[in-house]
Amino acid sequence: MKAVVHVFLKPGVLDVQGKAVQTALHGLGWDDVDDVRVGRVIEFDLAGEDRAAAHGRVDAMCRRLLANPVIEGYRVEIAP
């Protein structure tokens, strides 16, 4: 199975990278862009067949290491 973890700063936590990218996009003429957030994607292979169990394990990995719950939220996808 393939696990994909998306990590983003929580709403309300200032994302200065997102803000800078948004300013740059505006500068290129894409004025309608709003609320840019820059996050991180972490992918890895995971042994086993049980997707629900895999989801639980990856969730634990996020809480322990992959995300910092003080400032970041995360979303887990498990693909076959």
């Binding site: 700063l9 936590v13 200032l14 200065v16 990278q17 992959l66 910092n68 003080v70 400032i71």
Partner: protein
């Protein structure tokens, strides 16, 4: 008096901390590699130095927080040994959960490297006693991710319990409530972004950092 400086791969202020401690307090300083699973006996202070441990991979301090030595550092802190995390060391202490909050990328995205004026918010800690009632100090910051963040409830608690030790006079990086340094509930674990190790003798522009080291060594 004995102190240890933990060396992580990517630490770059470890030797500065050793020299600063030796010259300002006369302490015997041992360098401890991050893979050690035991600390020297009889330590009065453990310093987690500045730098870019593990190249700041994943998040600043996230990988160092899992280094074998950190279990010993935590155990020593629970016994009351003073632990000071400076800059990257502060980030590590937050990542490992020994201090609340986290350090975000600086507002304006700039790496900020300059002397800053600090208000000594709490002059009655183990780290500030030698300032003898002085309410201002100058130390140098050098960081790209020194923007202290915590939720409002945590910030209120830190302020209410006198755990905000240093505040920037002029906020250089967007830190919540201009916080530059905090202590844990027991008062023995300090995290601060400014470097006392870059301000320990007049030739460096300020000797105020020496007072911090003298305070904590005298408190042991």
């Amino acid at each position: 008096m004995k102190a240890a400086v933990v060396v992580f791969p990517g630490s770059n202020c470890d030797r500065d901390c050793k020299v600063a401690l030796e010259r300002s307090t006369g302490a015997q300083v041992t360098m401890v590699w991050h893979r050690e699973t035991a600390l020297p006996p009889g330590l009065d202070l453990i310093v987690l130095p500045g730098g870019f441990s593990y190249g700041d991979y994943l998040r600043c301090g996230a990988m160092a927080a899992l280094s074998p030595v950190m279990g010993e550092v935590r155990a020593a802190a629970e016994r009351g040994v003073a632990v000071a995390g400076i800059c990257n060391g502060f980030q590590i202490l937050c990542e490992v959960g020994m201090l609340p909050g986290a350090l975000l990328r600086n507002a304006e995205l700039k790496y900020v490297c300059k002397p800053v004026a600090l208000e000594i918010v709490n002059a009655n800690t183990r780290y500030t006693a030698a300032f003898a009632g002085r309410r201002q100090a100058t130390m140098t910051v050098g960081n790209g991710e020194g923007n202290f963040f915590a939720d409002d409830a945590t910030l209120d608690r830190l302020e209410g319990e006198g755990r905000v030790v240093f505040r920037y006079k002029q906020n250089p990086n967007g830190s919540s409530r201009s916080i530059a340094g905090i202590v844990n509930g027991a008062g023995n674990v300090l995290g601060l972004m400014p470097h006392p190790d870059r301000a320990f003798e007049p030739a460096l522009g300020s000797a105020d950092g020496a007072l911090l080291f003298q305070s904590v060594m005298a408190s042991a």
